[in-house]
């Protein structure tokens, strides 16, 4: 086993990880920053974000408005202190990215162009055509090459955090192209490993989004917060779940059921807005949870159409015209033509909701600090408290930047003067993991990892989907526990060291099942409906602030089971109110 000593380890090379690494390098150019990623950084899933990044930009907009939209969007489960900090820091972070070369879309006079997004009162979403995440990721990745302090360890898979007495000591990682184990020691570890969308069968996420970092922290006693809140994006392609950006609706796209009717007006989002005149917070520009729920209602009512065995509704962009589609939504046109053989200029795109984002994650403070000293988490793997029960589109790309920077700076500023070059505790822990790893190999069996994974994703879809009930979730929990037992009995039949895909899938599934259980248990215990967590059980279909204006904290008990606790929501200035969109919001204002 090789030992590397460094100052700061960043796990994950997506937007949050890269932003943290750059911030650390700017704060302490003399520090050694190791950027570990299980893939080359530019493959990270930030690359697939399409729509944009939010920050108050127009003169008629205000920080207050962005704050209110975010808190209401969260169904009052966001941490209001965090949201205040976020909306203040957002603009400067997007400008910083501009200074690093991000090709933001522009107005004729050369100033930044902003677009409409769901649940936002005003246009405040910066975008780079419909490949915003791609451009943010590549801008950050290429900029990171400027800093000699940042040393990449590409294609390293983290097996475990090394922790002793509530102080992080480093990580244990597997180099994929050699199969060698590395003990990487540092007083600071920043987790930026992304979400867990791959726990579900239909999702917009890349294959790498398996919840690894959440499980790593959870196994060491850190709480996972608000895991029951999973965002279904209303517009994924049927079958694959490939994302069709919300910006398509921001630009004026409309949703139709099988009869060509704009059904959203029946679900508190109307009245119908005229074609080609989208209005913020009305109809197609309602928030994601409400839109995905409306799809489910339509499906129950038999009003969805069929596309190769999948229930779908239609996203109609035809009235935008060929020129606007080419300028604003070129990638959407390319995806639609390639993957459903539909030209959006000529025909509406069949779409359906697909799991997109995990609102919950590793519990952190404002600078990304966790309950383990020296351990941070940022981005989708974290729950800093920004999204609550439902994330507004275009808040998460900005989140990567604002909180990535905060964690990187904080870690660099608080480096101890003399990092240790070895640690008995770390070595012991690493050796235990090494033995455990060796014990995973064995002969070929009937069951495969792929079949267990599929069973997990189907169980999650069934039990923890857009609408949930007690019985479905209990069934889901039973299945997950059984899958955990089956996985424990399963052996990895491929004994090779170099790029052992079966081994990595085993480890990812083991992480994933652990995270899935926290999700299911948190959902079972939340006996109300709020944001993305909607229950069908009688008496639980409404929000219940009396009992549940609280964050769920999931801890790993000594016997491996999930233990739940609750944490009050920090409310600074916006007391809970009814969450309304469309005309109802206007009446309330």
């Amino acid at each position: 086993m090789q030992i590397i000593t460094t100052d700061i380890i960043v796990v994950g090379g997506g937007g949050a990880g890269l932003r943290a690494a750059i911030a650390a390098a700017e704060t302490r150019p003399d520090a050694r920053i190791s950027l570990l990623s299980k893939v080359y950084p530019m493959r990270s899933h930030t690359v697939a974000a399409e729509g944009g990044a939010a920050a108050v930009t127009l003169a008629e907009d205000s920080l207050d408005a962005h704050f209110q939209d975010t808190v209401a969007g969260s169904d009052w489960l966001a941490d209001q202190l965090v949201v205040e900090h976020f909306v203040k820091a957002a603009y400067q972070e997007l400008v910083q990215l501009e200074h690093w070369g991000c090709p933001w879309s522009r107005k004729a006079d050369g100033s930044i162009q902003v677009r409409r997004f769901g649940g936002m009162k005003t246009e405040r979403t910066w975008f780079a055509a419909d490949k915003t995440g791609f451009h943010i990721l590549h801008t950050l990745f290429q900029t990171s090459m400027k800093y000699p302090a940042i040393r990449r360890l590409d294609e390293f898979f983290v097996l475990d955090l090394l922790v002793s007495e509530q102080q992080v000591l480093g990580v244990l990682a597997l180099q994929l192209n050699s199969g060698e184990l590395f003990q990487i020691l540092a007083p600071k570890v920043i987790l930026a490993t992304g979400g867990a969308g791959r726990l579900f069968h239909y999702n917009t996420n890349g294959g790498i989004v398996t919840g690894d970092g959440m499980a790593l922290a959870y196994r060491h006693g850190v709480a996972l917060r608000d895991m029951e809140f999973v965002q279904y994006h209303p517009t994924g392609l049927p079958g694959s779940g490939i994302l069709i950006t919300e910006a398509a609706r921001g630009e004026g796209g409309i949703l139709l059921n099988k009869d060509g009717y704009r059904y959203l007006q029946d679900y508190g989002l109307g009245p119908e807005t005229p074609l080609g005149q989208p209005q913020n917070k009305y109809m197609e520009l309602g928030p994601r949870d409400k839109l995905s729920q409306a799809f489910w209602q339509q499906q129950q009512a038999g009003l969805t159409a069929d596309y190769q065995g999948h229930a779908v509704v239609y996203l109609d962009l035809r009235h935008l015209g060929v020129q606007k589609l080419a300028e604003r939504l070129p990638f959407i046109c390319e995806l639609s033509r390639s993957y459903v053989n539909i030209d959006p200029v000529q025909q509406p795109i069949p779409i359906r909701p697909a799991v997109h984002y995990t609102m919950g994650g590793i519990l952190t403070e404002l600078q990304g600090e966790t309950s383990i000293s020296g351990l941070y988490a940022v981005g989708e793997c974290a729950s800093v408290g920004l999204h609550g029960a439902n994330r507004l589109g275009s808040n998460s790309l900005t989140e990567l930047l604002v909180f990535g920077k905060a964690a990187g700076e904080h870690a660099a500023q608080s480096l101890p003067p003399m990092p240790r070059s070895q640690s008995t505790a770390a070595t012991e822990q690493a050796q235990t993991q090494q033995r455990r790893l060796a014990s995973l190999f064995g002969g070929k069996q009937q069951q495969s990892i792929a079949s267990l994974r599929k069973a997990m994703t189907l169980a999650m879809e069934q039990g923890c989907g857009i609408y949930r009930d007690e019985q479905g979730m209990q069934q889901c929990r039973t299945t997950l526990v059984s899958l955990q037992q089956q996985l424990a009995g399963l052996k990895v039949s491929d004994h090779s060291k170099v790029f052992n895909a079966e081994l990595i899938q085993y480890l990812e599934l083991s992480f994933g099942l652990e995270v899935a259980l926290t999700l299911c248990e948190s959902a079972l215990a939340r006996k109300e409906s709020r944001g993305a967590h909607q229950r069908l059980d009688p008496g639980l279909t409404q929000r219940n602030d009396q009992d549940f204006l609280q964050h769920t904290l999931a801890y790993r008990a000594a016997d491996g089971r999930v233990a739940l606790r609750y944490q009050p929501v920090r409310i600074t200035c916006l007391p809970p109110a009814a969450r309304v969109y469309g005309a109802a919001a206007k009446q309330g204002a």
Binding site: H99, G101, S105, H135, N177, G206, I242, S496, V498, A501
Partner: protein
């Protein structure tokens, strides 16, 4: 309906050289090469190694040779091929295992061209950049680093030190950006013996680019810039 997928398998722990293995894979109108590889890995042989993630042609992970032409697995469909097709690792990169290539040399070349905005402005507001100025480099900023153009480039095949299409595209992307002042720092690399002049304008890179970036055009714009640069340096005292 089934097709035969022939894969060049290579495990460095056992094999001297890659060898072909055949698999029968069911397909329909929407089955991509990536779907076929996933089917093989999940149903037939878990030891098959390949890279993938987004499955929507934006992460750049799944480049492979399909019938000797560089392709993104997720954007190439079985329906477009006869009953048999052959898949191997990208040409011109060292093979690590099966369909996985070592991309380190590409990342080194990318880093060598200083792929970041060089500008000493201390302004706290965004630069102005008109849509026309954006358009000048926008296309070249769309490179997904998939490496298909390197697998297509005969010059890179002969000389791995050649910066290659994608790195030159990225250098041009920054050189053409109205906010950038770093062209003078990038020109020595572009002008050097492994820079733009090593390109013989075969143009195959442009044919295989999944984002239609036309790296060949970028390289040749680079040549013009490079020539201008040299002329100026001759006349400068």
């Amino acid at each position: 309906m089934e097709k035969t997928i022939i894969i060049q398998r290579y495990n460095p722990e056992q094999d001297q050289a890659p060898s072909a293995k055949r698999y029968q894979v069911p397909f329909d109108h929407s089955t991509s090469v990536l779907d076929a590889l996933l089917y093989i890995q999940q149903q037939l042989d878990p030891t098959l190694a390949f890279r993938w993630s987004c499955r929507m042609a934006i992460c750049g992970s799944c480049g492979v040779m399909v019938n000797k032409i560089p392709k993104l697995g997720c954007k190439t469909f079985l329906r477009d091929y006869p009953a048999e097709l052959t898949i191997s690792a990208l040409d011109h990169f060292p093979i690590e295992k099966d369909l996985i290539s070592d991309m380190a040399v590409f990342l080194d070349h990318l880093q060598a061209v200083k792929p970041y905005l060089i500008n000493d402005s201390q302004n706290t507001e965004p630069h102005r950049q008109t849509p026309a100025q954006l358009k000048k480099y926008q296309k070249f900023s769309s490179c997904i680093n998939c490496g298909l153009c390197y697998a297509a480039c005969p010059q890179f095949g002969l000389n791995p030190e050649f910066l290659g299409p994608a790195a030159i595209v990225t250098a041009q992307r920054y050189n053409l950006d109205s906010r950038d002042q770093g062209k003078a720092q990038r020109m020595p690399q572009l002008n050097g013996k492994n820079g733009v002049w090593a390109c013989t304008f075969v143009g195959f890179c442009a044919d295989v680019c999944p984002k239609q970036l036309d790296p060949a055009a970028a390289v040749n714009q680079g040549k013009v810039a490079s020539a201008t640069d040299m002329l100026i340096s001759i006349f400068k005292p």
